[in-house]
Symmetry: C2
């Protein structure tokens, strides 16, 4: 019997679903069971005390996409434990990227605001609208989310290029040419729409700054669905404010509410992005927090991973703690 | 030599492009040439005086999609003249439908408005968000625009069904089952997202009213990219206001500015849609009026049609004046 501990407070229905679908060789425990000697731990932010409860942990599954800094630090001290992500929200995040791209391309936010005031001016003001068809789209981070975004853009007739950590092997995937990050600058010069879908690591922080935004033309669109600090905050504001780029759709920010009491009063940036018409601002909704369908998908993905383990199969989406994803 | 008269005031660059690409057997004239005996007339709203200038008109090309009422009335008196549309803006209109669908599904408008005021509440309020993946999408009007919308939705993993005037021959197109309008009610009961992409004709006016909206569930999304009056105005307001449907994305309206002086002060409806959070309101931007790229595409499509005529080939997209499209 392989013991699995699922840490944290999860919906009872989800836990029941897991228990129902798990391979019989796996036994699932939650925190209230106070179990020890588990072989698999499902937890996003474990601490040393939790890890010390079992000497035989083989796998840590973070039940979402991403690696919290504290988890990276702790797990580097436990190199025998393999760390894995699940990507159950890749569909949701990629759909959010499409939503932001389309809204930015068609100036939906100011057009909606004006029409609510009976003002149709934006109808006659579409010389800055952007069509996806025939646009050149660069997806920085062609992974679980980026590849889905790419497929949708290609269906709309766009010319899609991807940047991947390891674009070795086939240099393209389903017709999308893939390059490594050292080609970023030359690709930006030929880009109409830039989609940033990278994880945030020491290597990727500020990967898009003044120099990169300068390479884009003044009607280009920038979408960030990764993490705020992938794009330099002041560079982005400066380029939008002065129409050096055309528009942006931004889901991820520079400041976040620290707790419930600050949810309704936390500026997402020290720059006044909220004064600009050429940005769509969403409050980190890519993961569709609290959406019941996604919670179900989380459990579906956990079952897949756990049952692969039970079958002795290799597990996908292992995290390199030093690369950060 | 076949004479072609292009009525109206068009960009010089576009006319030059046409002249450059036309088959040598065609000769293009504009209004300032005051030509008679033309065989092809390009005009959206001709009058009797214009038609009487040539006794040999074979084809009227309306240089956009749709049939103005006055043109229908006039051309019914000239049954020998075949009337054709071009669909150069199908990409733009379909992208607008996707933009509205995605913005409605992810509550982008109120989320953006709140975040500009430092309020992140919508991040924690996504239980009413809708994922396109696995959604059941019904496209009412599976034509030039609707089929493009369908392809994009399918790439996102949706289950797409279409309603067509004549779904005879193959009952599906690229995996999309196609039905005739008499199946509308039973299909609405199994629909999460309804996309209305019909032309407005006497038969389609008010095709979506109380009864049809009642068949949709209370998290469903309605998008209208066709014409306002396809959906009954008060029914739509009532269903949105009382959360009987989930959300709507509306590009086409019930009232329009009558001229330049009323552009900034014309309510799009007698119902106060602008007070609702669950609607995205765009001022008829599907055609991307004034977008240079689309003007270029208009000329590309005209060239195709004219050169087919020169080659003696049958012309696509003929309008049935009695059906209205």
């Amino acid at each position: 019997m392989i013991k699995v501990l699922f840490q944290g407070h999860w919906d009872r229905k989800g836990i029941d679903y897991l228990r129902d679908k798990l391979d019989p060789s796996l036994q699932l425990f939650t925190e209230e069971d106070s179990v020890d000697d588990f072989e698999i731990l499902i937890s996003g932010r474990p601490d040393e005390a939790l890890l010390s409860r079992s000497s035989g942990i083989k796998v840590l599954i973070i039940p979402w996409a991403g690696l919290p800094e504290s988890t990276a630090v702790l797990l580097k001290k436990h190199p025998a434990i393999h760390v894995h992500n699940i990507h159950h929200n890749a569909a949701s995040a990629s759909e959010m990227a499409i939503a932001l791209m389309m809204a930015a391309a068609r100036l939906l936010v100011p057009a909606d605001r004006s029409l609510r005031n009976n003002d149709w001016t934006w109808r006659y003001n579409q010389d800055r609208a952007v069509l996806i068809e025939r646009s050149r789209i660069l997806i920085l981070g062609y992974g679980h989310v980026g590849s889905r975004v790419g497929a949708v853009c290609r269906t709309m007739g766009a010319d899609v290029t991807g940047i991947q950590r390891k674009p070795s092997g086939p240099a393209s995937e389903e017709g999308v040419p893939l390059y490594s990050i050292d080609r970023l600058h030359e690709l930006l010069e030929k880009t109409d729409i830039l989609i940033v879908a990278l994880p945030l690591t020491p290597d990727t922080r500020g990967i898009i700054g003044d120099r990169e935004l300068d390479l884009l033309h003044d009607r280009s669109i920038v979408v960030n669905i990764g993490r705020g600090h992938l794009i330099d905050e002041e560079s982005l504001y400066h380029h939008l404010r002065n129409n050096l780029i055309g528009a942006a759709g931004i889901d991820v920010w520079y400041e976040y509410p620290s707790g419930k009491e600050t949810v309704s009063d936390t500026p997402p940036s020290s720059c006044p992005f909220g004064t600009l018409d050429n940005i769509v601002m969403s409050p980190h909704m890519g993961g569709a927090f609290n959406l019941e369908e996604l919670e179900r998908q989380r459990m579906v993905h956990l079952v897949q991973l756990l049952n692969l383990y039970a079958a002795g199969e290799p597990l996908p989406d292992r995290i390199d703690l030093y690369q950060g994803y």
